[in-house]
């Protein structure tokens, strides 16, 4: 499922990957605003504040000389590195492509990145534990080696029978033991033990109060990191950012296509995400005063592609049918070898996956839902470019993966954009009068426990439409009779409703926001093709859910709870999603959102080894079915393209409502 190719655009912004085709002479700042690129400004593009610094990575030579404003705002070093002010430059004539990087310092971080998830009670039992020891130093009568002395004390005081002291700890051991007590005093050290088996560090004095870990949700678009106190199980800092791998491919498939070109390409993509995670670690450490060496473990959760690209596992074959994953079980990698900036002897632990397109993120969601222990029948969906769905209870569960495509993320949609400032996030249409209302995301503050952004941008006029509003399009249009159940525009409105009109290319479209209401002075519309993309996406999701129900032999009535995981899922209107037939028609009170389950699962696994064992069990226990080659797929999928469905028996409530409105 690819978007358009990079070459088709003449301005590309990294790291967001946002791109577009613009007329020569268009200001880069204007282009950024139109595309919804996160770019700081105070003066609004007047060349006064110097906040919109960007780096020109391709096409710098075609731009004119520095303006006086740029001379004033850019340092010599920045000038050398092709820095410019976005508001002072415009797309030159005859340039094939401008590639522009927005450095972190010029970003607000205002993209709505969801990092929160449910807080779940887990028994505190992290893999990393610290033990304080005060040991009598040796005498001529007691000349045990330092190593043996330490092991003896650990056995006598804490009951460890079989601890390993690896070489990298042994080299400095004699020195560290004697650092606190001077030449004659007792040895005063703290021993850091990993998984009750291995000593990963010995530190002078009592450092037991300072024991940290990070939990990271590696999303293909976003990274969410949590710095946690392993003594208390509490989150002490949160950080999130765009996945720096985006320049190598917007969606996971094109990213894998890039990475499988060569070993070097894989390493580049791997390094990108590790750098991004290291940046987050540094940011959180700065906020809290915690040192990176006081972080002993990182727990990582992500889909199978992210797992391969983070661990550097050859990704070629998992991108091709039958999509075999390189590894499935939990994988532990030494932090220093991976290049992770935590304690060098620490570990990265990547959660287990189910298979090719059902990764650790889905296992995490299954852990949060607690499939291993519940009696209720729960249908859980993680909505995204690839939608994973699990159905079952403790007696058995099935999962499925559907290539739903990026339509609900605003891609492949003519006026689509990500959930950032200026995005329309809700659409409401009066079913009788077709009076239209929309809500725009304005001035989001940055996120996190202790982070905040310095500047607030106030775009109050819309630029485009983001996923949560796209989710309203099909149901609101059908209810108001703007489209038929088949998704086709109701031609009878042409000439009756001024919002309905024919485009130059012959397609029909419906105006959501008129030019005078928008930030860029152009109409924001939904076209027939947009409708089709949304239909395909929602049909894929319903088909997945429905095939699982058939496999389990249950009907909609048997579903006790419908759980929506993932960032996108927590912003959509569950009623809208249900009316369009994205999932089975369960009563609204049975629908619950659990936010970023991957992040929650990562946090649970970081502080609880029991949670890790459950994840491993789930990864083997939940059975997978392949939707695309399921014998019923060709019957269910086309029917699910109708809104809500061609088979109205599955949607009695919606059918009754549409009947009452006279739509069917």
């Amino acid at each position: 499922m690819a978007g358009r190719r990079l070459e088709e655009y003449n301005i590309v912004f990294f790291p967001s990957g946002l791109r577009g085709t613009f007329e020569p002479g268009t200001s880069i700042f204007e282009a950024a605003t139109k595309l919804g690129v996160d770019l700081a400004t105070i003066c609004g593009g007047q060349g006064e504040c110097g906040k919109c610094k960007v780096i020109i990575e391709e096409g710098a030579e075609a731009l004119g000389p520095l303006t006086p404003s740029e001379e004033a705002h850019l340092t010599e070093e920045e000038k050398r590195q092709n820095y410019r002010l976005a508001c002072m430059i415009s797309l030159p004539e005859g340039v094939k492509r401008l590639v522009i990087r927005v450095p972190e310092t010029s970003r607000l971080g205002a993209q709505r990145l969801q990092t929160e998830g449910l807080e779940v009670d887990v028994k505190l039992d992290p893999a990393v534990r610290k033990y304080h020891l005060i040991m009598k130093r040796g005498t001529l009568e007691d000349d045990r080696a330092d190593e043996i002395r330490l092991l003896d004390y650990m056995r006598d005081l804490y009951g460890f029978e079989d601890l390993e002291i690896p070489w990298e700890v042994a080299t400095t051991l004699p020195m560290i033991l004697r650092e606190k007590g001077g030449t004659r005093g007792d040895f005063d050290v703290t021993v850091v033990v990993y998984d009750d088996r291995k000593v990963i560090a010995v530190e002078p004095g009592d450092t037991t109060g300072r024991c940290y870990g990070i939990a990271v949700d590696i999303g293909s678009t976003k990274l969410a990191g949590f710095l946690m106190d392993l003594n208390t199980g509490k989150v002490v800092a949160v950080s999130s950012r765009m996945n720096p791998q985006i320049p190598y491919g917007e969606d996971i498939l094109s990213r894998m296509t890039y990475a499988k070109k060569s070993w070097e390409a894989l390493k580049t993509v791997q390094q990108a995400v590790i750098n991004g995670i290291n940046d987050m670690i540094l940011e959180m450490c700065e906020l809290t005063g915690i040192k990176p060496e006081e972080i002993y473990e990182g727990v990582f959760v992500g889909n199978t592609a992210m797992q391969h690209l983070f661990l550097g596992i050859w990704p070629k074959f998992m991108s091709l049918a039958p999509y075999p994953a390189g590894i499935k079980r939990p994988m532990r990698a030494p932090a220093d070898k991976l290049g992770l900036k935590i304690h060098p002897n620490g570990y990265a632990w990547f959660a287990p996956i189910i298979r090719g397109f059902v990764g650790a993120d889905q296992v995490a969601a299954e852990l949060v839902v607690n499939y291993l222990e519940i009696d209720e029948m729960v249908l859980e969906l993680d909505i995204g470019t690839n939608t994973e769905i699990t159905l079952g209870n403790r007696h058995g569960a099935y999962c499925v993966s559907c290539a739903s495509g990026p339509a609900f993320e605003g891609m492949m949609i003519s006026c689509g954009m990500r959930a950032a400032n200026g995005a329309i996030e809700r659409i409401r249409i009066d079913p009788e009068t077709r009076e239209l209302e929309y809500k725009v995301i304005t001035g989001i503050w940055a996120r996190g426990v202790r982070s905040c952004s310095k500047y607030r941008r106030t775009i109050t006029k819309p630029i485009g439409i983001c996923g949560s509003a796209l989710c309203d399009v099909l149901p609101e249009f059908v209810k108001a009779g703007i489209i038929h159940m088949s998704g086709q525009f109701n031609k009878e409105l042409l000439g009756v409703d001024p919002r309905m009109r024919k485009r130059p290319d012959g397609q029909l479209e419906y105006v959501i926001a008129w030019a005078h209401e928008t930030a860029h002075g152009k109409d924001i519309t939904i076209t027939q093709n947009d409708i089709r993309e949304l239909q395909k996406a929602k049909a894929a999701m319903f088909t997945g859910a429905y095939l699982l129900m058939k496999e389990m032999g249950i009907t909609t009535d048997d579903i006790d709870e419908l759980v929506i995981a993932g960032a996108f899922g927590s912003y959509i209107d569950p009623a809208s999603a249900r009316t369009m037939g994205m999932y089975p028609e369960v009563p609204l009170e049975k629908i619950r959102t659990i936010g970023n389950a991957a992040g929650t699962g990562a946090r649970m696994a970081l502080i609880s080894r029991e949670a890790r064992r459950k994840m491993e069990k789930l990864s083997n226990w939940v059975k997978f079915i392949e939707a695309a080659i399921h014998p019923d797929f060709m019957k269910v999928y086309p029917e699910a393209m109708y809104i809500p469905n061609k088979n109205l028996d599955l949607f009695p409530e919606t059918a009754a409502m549409l009947k009452e409105l006279g739509r069917i």
Partner: protein
């Protein structure tokens, strides 16, 4: 004939089959005529509706379903007749197309619609299905004497396979003798140009037009070659 076309376009499988059967049993129309003026026209009508935004995948699939059912009745008769004609040494052979979803991809709805529309347009279509090894495309095309290979993929990682088709055709000196067309979600005009595919189509309607053109090109090129060879023979 018009009734057949309309029933097909409406995706009414039972009615289409009923009308086709009636047409043949009562000798109202010749099977070839039914294919061309009934089913062919019906699929074109459906294609036009798709282009106009009126039809979408579900409607197209219903037409395909009706088309396939009707073809089951008509095709054996046509095959038989063509064989007899060929034996008698007359009649121009139809264009032949080998179609499939490339190795590593299993998403085949689009391919199925295209295959059906090609059949409706009178082509002989050999549908290799999904997850088709690259060599199988080429071997089948050579064995069957097809003029066109049509390859589809929805996913990006499998684009490579399409490039491989081009390379292998070149290697074997078949480029030009067998023309290629690609399509599917992950493909684009630029990609087709980049790898040297002979055509790219955004949808089934464009695909049929492009295949018509490609088949003609191959036939003309082959005729040219034959002419030249004959001329050379004469000189000798």
């Amino acid at each position: 004939m018009k009734a057949v076309a309309e029933a097909l376009c409406a995706g009414d499988k039972e009615k289409t089959v009923e009308l086709v059967k009636k047409g043949i049993d009562e000798k109202i129309a010749h099977p070839l005529e039914i294919l061309k003026d009934g089913l062919g026209v019906g699929m074109t009508m459906a294609g036009d509706k798709y282009e106009a935004g009126e039809y979408f995948v579900p409607e197209m699939l219903m037409c395909v379903d009706a088309m396939d059912a009707a073809m089951e009745i008509v095709m054996p008769l046509i095959e038989q007749e063509l064989r007899e004609k060929e034996k008698a040494g007359g009649g121009a052979p139809r264009g032949k197309v080998v179609i499939g979803v490339v190795e590593g991809d299993i998403h085949d709805i689009g391919k199925t619609i295209v295959a059906s529309m090609l059949r409706a347009a009178g082509f002989e279509v050999i549908d290799l299905g999904r997850d088709v090894p690259i060599d199988e495309f080429i071997e089948t095309a050579v064995r069957e004497g097809a003029q066109v290979i049509a390859a589809s993929t929805l996913m990006t990682p499998t684009l490579e396979g399409m490039e491989e088709i081009e390379e292998k055709l070149k290697e074997k000196g078949l480029k030009g003798k067998i023309k290629t067309i690609i399509g599917g979600g992950a493909t684009s005009k630029e990609f087709a140009d980049e790898i040297g595919a002979d055509a790219w189509a955004a949808d089934a309607v464009e695909g049929v037009d492009a295949v018509k053109r490609l088949v003609e090109e191959v036939k003309m090129a082959m005729a040219e070659i034959e002419k030249r060879m004959e001329a050379e023979k004469k000189e000798e």
